[in-house]
Symmetry: C2
Subunit: 162 residues, 2 copies
């Protein structure tokens, strides 16, 4: 059963995705913004993900490239409006192969002992663009991506045990 909640109300321009992780905010935020981990979770597992840049600070830029088994590339890029460790990220996200620019807000909140609720709100230029992204598999993609992130977090937490 999926542990990811995805809300996309009719006639709205946003998608709200949330998920609770079994790790404290500081660790979740650190792994979320660490370029060394991105290739292991950011995207579908049948593609490879390369980090061209990830500069997690106000005004910092990021660009990731997905490559499918045929070698076709799909690049994503953006810039950080705000990086407020460990609770909030506000950034742009351009899908260069569309191209569409969205405004993404990610919050990390404590959700009981050592747990963190992540909520990502993505705002798109129109209802049509948002709906097209939903139809093209964004929901399933985010579900898999967050599963991968949760697994990585679990492995990391276990390794960190005394």
């Amino acid at each position: 059963m999926s542990k990811t909640t995805i809300i996309a109300e009719p006639n709205k321009q946003e998608i709200i995705i949330s998920r609770t992780f079994e790790a404290p905010c500081e660790l979740v935020f650190q792994m979320w913004t660490d370029p060394a981990y991105i290739p292991e979770w950011w995207g579908p597992s049948f593609m490879t993900t390369t980090v061209e840049s990830l500069d997690a600070k106000n005004g910092g830029m990021w660009r990731f490239i997905h490559r499918d088994p045929n070698g076709k590339e799909y690049a994503h890029r953006g810039v950080f409006h705000e990086v407020a460790s460990p609770n909030r990220l506000i950034q742009t996200h351009e899908l260069e192969f569309v191209p569409t620019v969205g405004l993404i807000t990610v919050t990390f909140e404590e959700a009981g002992a050592g747990r963190t609720k992540m909520t990502e709100t993505s705002l798109y230029p129109s209802v049509e663009i948002r709906d097209e992204l939903l139809r093209s598999g964004l929901t399933e993609g985010m579900d898999e991506l967050l599963d991968r992130f949760a697994s990585l977090l679990d492995m990391h937490s276990q390794r960190s045990l005394p």
Copy 2:
């Protein structure tokens, strides 16, 4: 009669503002992004405007401060996702005194001999926030701001005549 067109359709999260200026794209873009001119047009004339920063490049940050006659300050800030001279700007805009972060796309298109059509599309986190901004005088504010910009452009064009 106002020369500014403002479109805010019911139940949408955006405001689309357009205006045609009597100057070529290159000049309009240059003046729009030049920190030396900002205090003369960016904001209402009853406030003073100070540029803390304006770095018009991808990932560059900007922050402007309005000060009313009583000395009260209202700061605006953002970061540029894309600066594509002379045709497009994509940037964030945070009204620090609200605070609300919007995604702003400004395009400059040729509109006949030596004329430029500017279109600014501002996307906000909700219909409610957008409507509140409209109620709080954003429309009148943009109208005055664009009048000031057009006057400045006219003065500059006249000074540049041989």
